[in-house]
C-alpha cells in the first residue's frame, strides 16, 4: 500500500512539473543587447581629443579571409561613433597628433550550424509502410533525410582607451567598453542599422562620457 502511494506521489510530481509552461518569446525584439562597462577611476572630463580608424577589426569562424571591414558599413558605424563623441565635446584628430583617447571597433561573427535528425518514430506504427516476404510483413526503415540549419550571432565591441595617462600609469587601459550582442540578420544593412542604434544606446546609457 505504501509503495503504491509512493509511486502515485512520484507520478503526481512528474505531472505537476510538466505543467511548467514554455515561455512565449514571440515579443522579444531582435535589437542588440547593449552593455557598457566603465572604469570608475577614469576622469572623462580630462580628455579633449580622440582618434578612431575608419576600418573595423573583423573576427569570424566563417570561411573568410577578411580581417577588417571597410567601406559603407564601416563608415556608417564609425561615423556614428564620431558623431556621438563630437556631441559630447571631444575633438577628432589624426593619430600622429597624440590624441587623449583611442577608440577601436571589433566585429565578431560566429556562425552556428545544427542538424535535426528525424526520429523515424513510425517504425512499426500501424498504417506505416511495410515490405512483405515469405516470412511475413516488416515495417520499412525509411528515415527522412536530416535537415541542417544555420544562424549567426555577433558582437560589436567598442573600446575606449585612455592614451593620455598611459605614459604615467605604464598601461594602455580602457576607460569604457561597449558591447552589442545578439543574433545577426542575413542582411548586412539590417545588421549595420542595429549596430548604429546600439551605439546610440551605449552612449545614452553613459552620460558620464562628457568633456
Amino acid at each position: 500500500m505504501l509503495k503504491r502511494r509512493l509511486i502515485f506521489a512520484v507520478l503526481l510530481l512528474i505531472t505537476v512539473v510538466s505543467c511548467k509552461k514554455n515561455p512565449d518569446l514571440s515579443r522579444l525584439s531582435s535589437a542588440f543587447v547593449v552593455q557598457t562597462t566603465r572604469d570608475k577611476q577614469a576622469d572623462f572630463r580630462s580628455f579633449a581629443t580622440y582618434y578612431i580608424s575608419d576600418t573595423i577589426f573583423y573576427v569570424s569562424n566563417a570561411a573568410s579571409q577578411d580581417t577588417f571591414i571597410a567601406g559603407p558599413a564601416a563608415n556608417a558605424i564609425v561615423g556614428e561613433i564620431k558623431r556621438q563623441m563630437n556631441n559630447r565635446g571631444y575633438t577628432f584628430i589624426g593619430r600622429p597628433n597624440r590624441p587623449d583617447i583611442l577608440l577601436d571597433v571589433i566585429a565578431v561573427r560566429q556562425v552556428n550550424t545544427g542538424v535535426i535528425w528525424p526520429p523515424g518514430w513510425w517504425w512499426g506504427f500501424p498504417g506505416g509502410p511495410v515490405i512483405c516476404d515469405f516470412w511475413g510483413c516488416w515495417p520499412v526503415w525509411n528515415p527522412m533525410p536530416p535537415t541542417t540549419f544555420q544562424y549567426s550571432v555577433g558582437d560589436v565591441i567598442v573600446e575606449f582607451f585612455d592614451v593620455k595617462n598611459a605614459p604615467i600609469t605604464g598601461k594602455l587601459q580602457y576607460a569604457w567598453l561597449a558591447q552589442l550582442s545578439g543574433v545577426l540578420s542575413s542582411t548586412d544593412a539590417t545588421n549595420v542599422n542595429r549596430t548604429v542604434s546600439g551605439i546610440q544606446e551605449a552612449f545614452a546609457q553613459s552620460p558620464y562620457i562628457q568633456k
Binding site: 503526481l12 510530481l13 505537476v16 512539473v17 505543467c19 511548467k20 509552461k21 515561455p23 512565449d24 518569446l25 515579443r27 522579444l28 525584439s29 531582435s30 535589437a31 542588440f32 543587447v33 547593449v34 552593455q35 557598457t36 562597462t37 566603465r38 572604469d39 570608475k40 550571432v153 550582442s181 545578439g182 543574433v183 544606446e201 551605449a202 545614452a204 546609457q205 553613459s206
Partner: protein
C-alpha cells in the same frame, strides 16, 4: 407496507446526511490564479496554476494533509536600461521574464458548520517551495533555480454537490509567502494572493 417504505427511506436519507458530515478523506484538484504582490520580478498574474491536495480528517472538524501546487508567471518587459549597484556596468534590452513555482506544503484545516452541508474552513500550509526564475533576451537566457520555505494561510469552503453526493466544490483564497531569493533579479522573497476553484472527491 407503504408507510414502512417511507419510514425506511427517511431513515436512509438521515443516515446519508449524517455521513456527509463525517468525511474521512478528501482528494482535491483545483485551478489556481495567483496575483504577485510586493516588489516582484514579474508583476503579471499567473492564470496557469493549480494544485492537488489530500486531506485526512482526524476529527469531525479538523483535517491534516498535503498540497502540491504550481504557478507560471510570465511578463514581457519592454526595452529598459539596468545598472549594477556601483554603476560601473549597464545593459539595455527588452526581456521576457518567467517564474515557475512549485509549493509543497503540509496542511492543517479547521472546518466550521454553516447550514447543513457547506463547510467553511481556515487553514495553514507550511513547507518548501521550488522556484525557477528566468529572463530571456535576444538569444540569451539568465536562469536561476532555488528552494525556499513557504507559508500559505488560507480560507475557503467545501460545498457538496448535493445532500447525497459527498463530492463537491472546493473554493479557497489565500496568501503565499516564500523565502526564495535571487540576487541577479533582486528577489528577496516571493509573495502573492491567490484564489482557487476545484473539486474535492471524498470517501
Amino acid at each position: 407496507m407503504k408507510k414502512l417504505f417511507i419510514l425506511f427511506g427517511i431513515l436512509l436519507i438521515s443516515a446519508t446526511a449524517t455521513q456527509a458530515q463525517l468525511l474521512h478523506n478528501m482528494y482535491g484538484v483545483s485551478w489556481e490564479v495567483s496575483f504577485p504582490v510586493g516588489k516582484s520580478f514579474v508583476s503579471s498574474p499567473s492564470f496557469l496554476g493549480g494544485k492537488f491536495d489530500y486531506r485526512h480528517f482526524i476529527k469531525r472538524n479538523i483535517s491534516l494533509g498535503v498540497t502540491l501546487g504550481w504557478n507560471n508567471y510570465e511578463e514581457y518587459v519592454s526595452r529598459e536600461t539596468y545598472e549594477n549597484a556601483d554603476q560601473t556596468q549597464a545593459v539595455t534590452t527588452d526581456n521576457q521574464r518567467f517564474i515557475f513555482n512549485l509549493p509543497m506544503t503540509v496542511d492543517g484545516f479547521y472546518y466550521f458548520e454553516y447550514g447543513k452541508h457547506i463547510r467553511p474552513f481556515i487553514g495553514l500550509g507550511l513547507g518548501a517551495q521550488y522556484s525557477s526564475q528566468a529572463a530571456y533576451f535576444n538569444i540569451f537566457l539568465i536562469e536561476d533555480k532555488n528552494w525556499g520555505f513557504v507559508a500559505r494561510p488560507q480560507i475557503g469552503a467545501y460545498i457538496p454537490f448535493s445532500e447525497y453526493n459527498h463530492n463537491g466544490f472546493l473554493l479557497a483564497a489565500g496568501y503565499n509567502f516564500a523565502t526564495n531569493k535571487n540576487e541577479s533579479f533582486r528577489i528577496n522573497n516571493m509573495q502573492s494572493f491567490w484564489v482557487s476553484i476545484g473539486i474535492g472527491f471524498t470517501n
